[in-house]
Symmetry: C2
Subunit: 387 residues, 2 copies
Amino acid sequence: MAGEVAIVGAGQSRFGVLKEGIKSLFAQAFFECLDSVDKGMDPRQVQEAFVGSMSFGGGQLGNLAALMTEQVGLTHIPARKVENACASSSYALRDAWFALHSGMLDVVLVAGVEKMTDLPSDRRRYWLGVSGDTEWERLAGTTFAGLYALMASRHMHEYGTKRESLAQVAVKNHRYASHNPKAHFQRPIKLEQVLEAPMLAQPLTLYDSCPVSDGASALLLTRAELAKSFTDSPVYIQASSGASDFLALHDREDITRVDGTVKAAKEAYRQAHLSPGEVDMAEIHDAFTIGEIMALEDLGFCSKGQGGVWTLEGRTEIGGDIAVNTSGGLKAKGHPLGATGAGQVVEVFKQLRSEAEKARQVSGAEVALTHNVGGSGATVAVHIFSR
Amino acid sequence: MAGEVAIVGAGQSRFGVLKEGIKSLFAQAFFECLDSVDKGMDPRQVQEAFVGSMSFGGGQLGNLAALMTEQVGLTHIPARKVENACASSSYALRDAWFALHSGMLDVVLVAGVEKMTDLPSDRRRYWLGVSGDTEWERLAGTTFAGLYALMASRHMHEYGTKRESLAQVAVKNHRYASHNPKAHFQRPIKLEQVLEAPMLAQPLTLYDSCPVSDGASALLLTRAELAKSFTDSPVYIQASSGASDFLALHDREDITRVDGTVKAAKEAYRQAHLSPGEVDMAEIHDAFTIGEIMALEDLGFCSKGQGGVWTLEGRTEIGGDIAVNTSGGLKAKGHPLGATGAGQVVEVFKQLRSEAEKARQVSGAEVALTHNVGGSGATVAVHIFSR
């Protein structure tokens, strides 16, 4: 089953506080993606589109999949929006993967797009907040930083995870982002800056959090047997899996782990016939720094409770056990909700083809994993890729 | 290819102005659907869920697919929301169809849910309006009734379609709804009532428009070879197709037709190896009465311009050439956006199994078609089913 779907093109807009509107961002990503197809692709070959998005383009534009595809000349093809909070375009990828596996399509577009900075601050808070539990969390005043702060506190209590480990996630990811021209943040930061930044929710400061970003990302997928007609270097999807969890933290058995991640990862390794130790690089959902530490454990890269230690010891850096968030991650590359999941795959596409900027290229990377979360863990998607 | 996916269960809540919240509506539809599986199904057999919805449960609840599946005990399965305006759950069906065709899943849930009447009127107008073109239509003050009024006026001008033909669509569909205990409207109406009702947008009056409804619908799908272990009377999906069109009317070549419908229908007949004349019954997107008349033509049931004549002559009634909207249609059964597409299939499931209420059962129906539109035609899905 594995490896029957290939990625033959990938592109993205810059992520950040951008002046362009949602249509323009989508077009930037789509045309960069189309141009990345080595042997060329006629856009009329694209038969269907799966578009991940959440916030209706600043809250103004609906029927988004039809509108976005219309903008880039893909008029009349079937298109739909997939919305799973911050994991939207990873589920768009999963559904496109099913569609190609069915054998009924040859070429499909997977994309993600979000224009967040147009939203007034109360609407922005609303669009973010609704991804968590509304009745027991959001309407009681809980923020996403607050939810992740609860997880961080418990993780520190249970496993002795140090405050510095969380901060080191931010330091590492800002450093990689400083070498990624598409990243929201372009400057490295120091550990002290994280520790001394304004407090969001104890123990998380401003630098433990991802920013509010605009952006778009796009992928062109084909059935594997057609891939070589588009490029000599396709990237194959070896596994696609997803899982859900309770929205509200209080319903979960243990808030130091995300069961959706544990479950989806297990299924992904089964499909790919791989163990965690065979993964060379991973793009992990680090909306908050504790998210990366927990995911290192839940994805099986290290044992439970060791995510912080691994981070401090540099084992998640290039040259360590596994290179994590070489793009800068959500933390520093940016987090335009619906564009994030497909954006992770843009990084994988570049890395596995050795096309990343030199300072952040993982030498000889052959197997990559993406991990994308919606809400505080209610929705998870895991994908595994190979050259 | 055709017929490899089967529907083995179908259920829905009542459509209407309901006191229940979105979670309760979803649960009603799911459990009625589960109970409808003749030989029984353990909910743990459901491997994945595709949920069509648009308006976030009165605008308050996000991460909707995970939240809804959690409510009915389907915790931890992969679930996603599919949003394509009023065609959301038809695209959820299409994506589930792809997933089952891939051979990687055995049993999936397709559902749709919408809680519209909780929305304050300005937000309701917003959530409806964003499905059309925002920049050239909505923000200029155009309503959906206004858009369909433009189509109706042009159709009357080009083809001599009579005002009474539009009204007769409403009369027919209210009559069928009066025999459907799940329908929003339970009373037949007279032609004069439609003609004399308050004007929405010339020539459409209040009775030419569907109502604002709450509701949920659910379907259980399996690969065809597994269907008989769940029921002796599965309904097979013979075709699934979709197409897009320009959001704004002024970009379309001819506003007396919907090119998305024409294109999707052609592809559906190709997949099913059927001609329009072989379809016994159809659930058609009649958000406004002119929509049913245009779709009769665009789906190939009658020639262009004859939709009104066919309606007045009773050729779209039970016993005529084709039985259209025996459920009552969006017009009278109700139109809870995301629940509408899957709801059309609930009607098909009942009709093809001869389980509809006697006064509206299409005797010996073997082939059925559903037609679901998002916006004023920007998104279309067409499915064909058989016993």
